[in-house]
Amino acid sequence: MMWEIDEKKGEVSACLSGRVYTREAMALAARLLARRAEVFEEKGASGKVRITLRPRERKPTREALDALAGDFLCEALNQQCRLDTARHNGNVQKLLVTQALYAARRQAEAAGSQLSPERLKELSAEARKLMQEAAQEG
């Protein structure tokens, strides 16, 4: 794919295939580059999407425009691969995350119930005493 660099306008654009990059991947890449550039999207011919990148820096050089275009494609590809991987492995991911978070929360209820409210009250009083001692020392 060829990027068209317009140094006068200070922007770079190209038509990306909708069959390779989903709109979601392009939107995620655009979001990640938002601090560096404004990203515009237009419908192109035969299912393609025209992406235009306009850096936030003034008077960008040709090299800077070229680098920005490369970074956008790299990120779009990364996001697309991540989405594709998630489609295959999403269930594994959800299972591991659910297990980790569920264990941390569910067992907390059991752990919390091991001390009676009376014992917690006693501990709180002892803590107050220790706090007074520490405050005096400090």
Partner: protein
């Protein structure tokens, strides 16, 4: 291993990951097993032509690499042991008792050199609420670690937390481990006796010989390194001279931070640790997180530079061991613990999902709670994205259900990362969403261009290369026979 075997029929390869290392192929699987195969063996395994009559076959069956002979019950047990943290909740609780510090370290974000003013000191009320939050968690193993700033600058809070946590644990009866990370410059007889009496482990910073350490860790009260080494030796003297069981004195440990200035001094750094009497060293790379990100151009380096430093230092350490002096490199030991023992070494930085919130929690001086200390450092630079709550306002359940907790958890599952999901080191590895966010702008990052990934992959390459060498492998296996606390931070 005595696993059940199905009758001989076919012998196709079970799901595996592979990487060419040297002249051979390393293969691993999700159960945490590994093997080295020749090109010809790997080809035949993949083609289903490596049969029961061959010498490697029983090993590959036992390790879960043959699809038709998998003992799911045993292998699931292996997975569970290797990933025990998935069933536990947070172990490590970091208390930032103050941001004040009497050092002005090149890589640290704390209020360098400022010791006056108490606006960044944790209050006693906040400290009590933080201890209560610690005990609201489910984990039976709890480690409270004091950090800063220099935690000894807020001594009343350190003292109170130690006393209150010990008192509370008399009722809770959990395994409670307390440690203080200090530069030791404010240590005195009274503080040391209190810490030793209460069995608080002492961890300090030691970046290497005095010129290097003092360059990294600027201190206007003399040589920071000489002060630290003097106290390290004093604590060790007491540890060795006191007869148990009056109190259990832990061996002092130290953290080494690798800056650009450390790279040529790998031998001197290891020698400094040997001379100070340490049993090992953790060759920790620096990450461009928080304040270090701002000064990365001065003190930072590339993955390849770090890996060259690591390889030279590890080779030297192995040589020392082969000459008869046991001395551990802790990063290799932690990773080897996973690879060889297939057990979770409780190392929160290298897990899938990572330890953010579910393995460690950081309590800032003002009561704000973060996914981890690195997340707190990002907030210190003005971005509170990794904040998960506040000890005075939120419950334990609320912090575990916070968007930052869930986001870090989801983003750090290696199976969902394109570069990680087929990586040979996936069973033992982990990524850091905070690093990804700081270096690449998103929690998920872009692993092929990620320094954290390149460093870990390089360290794993070096480790497996050593494990494939009989003499080096024996040394590393010997490290795992040491007590667990010696191996793991």
């Amino acid at each position: 291993m005595g696993r059940s075997r199905a009758p001989d029929r076919t012998c196709t390869a079970a799901p595996l990951y592979s990487r060419k290392l040297g002249g051979r192929h390393l293969i691993t699987n999700d159960w945490g097993h590994y093997a080295f195969l020749s090109q010809e063996e790997l080809d035949r395994l993949r083609a289903g032509r490596l049969g029961p009559a061959e010498s490697r076959f029983p090993e590959l069956v036992d390790k879960g690499f043959i699809r038709e002979r998998m003992d799911f019950k045993g292998l699931a047990g292996d997975f569970r042991t290797l990933n025990r943290f998935l069933w536990q909740g947070p172990t490590l609780h970091i208390f930032v008792t103050t941001l004040r510090c009497n050092h002005a370290c090149l890589y640290c974000q704390s209020s360098a050199g400022r010791v006056v003013g108490h606006e960044t000191d944790m209050s006693l009320e906040t400290a009590k609420a933080a201890v209560d939050m610690v005990f609201a968690g489910p984990n039976r193993n709890i480690a409270i670690e004091f950090q800063g700033g220099e935690p000894l600058l807020n001594w009343p809070v350190v003292r109170f937390v130690v006393q209150y946590a010990r008192k509370r644990n008399e009722a809770e009866k959990r395994s409670l481990f307390l440690s203080v990370v200090t530069n030791l410059s404010l240590m005195d007889e009274g503080k040391l006796e209190f810490l030793l009496d209460n069995e608080v482990s002492i961890c300090t910073s030691l970046d290497g010989p005095a010129p290097l350490h003092d360059r990294n860790r600027v201190f206007h009260g003399g040589s920071s390194q000489e002060t630290a080494v003097r106290w390290i030796k004093e604590i060790e003297r007491r540890r060795l001279s006191e007869p148990p069981p009056r109190r259990r004195i832990f061996k002092t440990s130290a953290l080494m931070t690798t800056t650009r200035f450390s790279l040529p001094a790998w031998r001197e750094i290891v020698d400094t640790y040997l001379d100070a009497g340490f049993g090992g060293i953790f060759l920790r790379p620096l990450s461009p997180i928080g304040y270090a990100k701002k000064v990365w151009g001065t003190i930072g380096y590339g993955a390849e530079e770090y890996l060259d430093f690591y390889r030279r230092a590890l080779d030297y350490i192995l040589e020392i061991n082969l000459r008869g002096r046991p001395f551990i490199e802790r990063m290799a030991a932690v990773l080897a613990w996973k690879v060889l023992k297939r057990r979770d070494p409780n190392f929160v930085d290298c897990r899938s999902p990572c330890g953010a919130s579910i393995g460690q929690v950081a309590y800032n001086f003002d009561g704000d709670i973060y996914t981890c200390d690195e997340g707190r450092m990002v907030a210190q630079q003005g971005d509170p994205i990794f904040r998960i709550g506040n000890v005075l306002r939120d419950s334990y359940d609320e912090i575990m259900a916070s968007p930052a907790t869930k986001g870090c958890c989801m983003a750090s599952v290696l199976d969902s990362q394109p570069a990680c999901s087929r990586c040979v080191y996936k069973p033992y590895c982990g990524l850091c969403p905070v690093y990804n966010y700081e270096a690449q702008g998103s929690l998920m990052g872009q692993l092929p261009r990620n320094m954290h990934c390149r460093v870990l992959k390089g360290v794993f390459d070096i480790l497996f290369e050593k494990l494939d060498d009989r003499a080096a492998a024996e040394v590393i296996e010997g490290w795992l026979d040491s007590s667990r606390r010696e191996v793991v931070k």
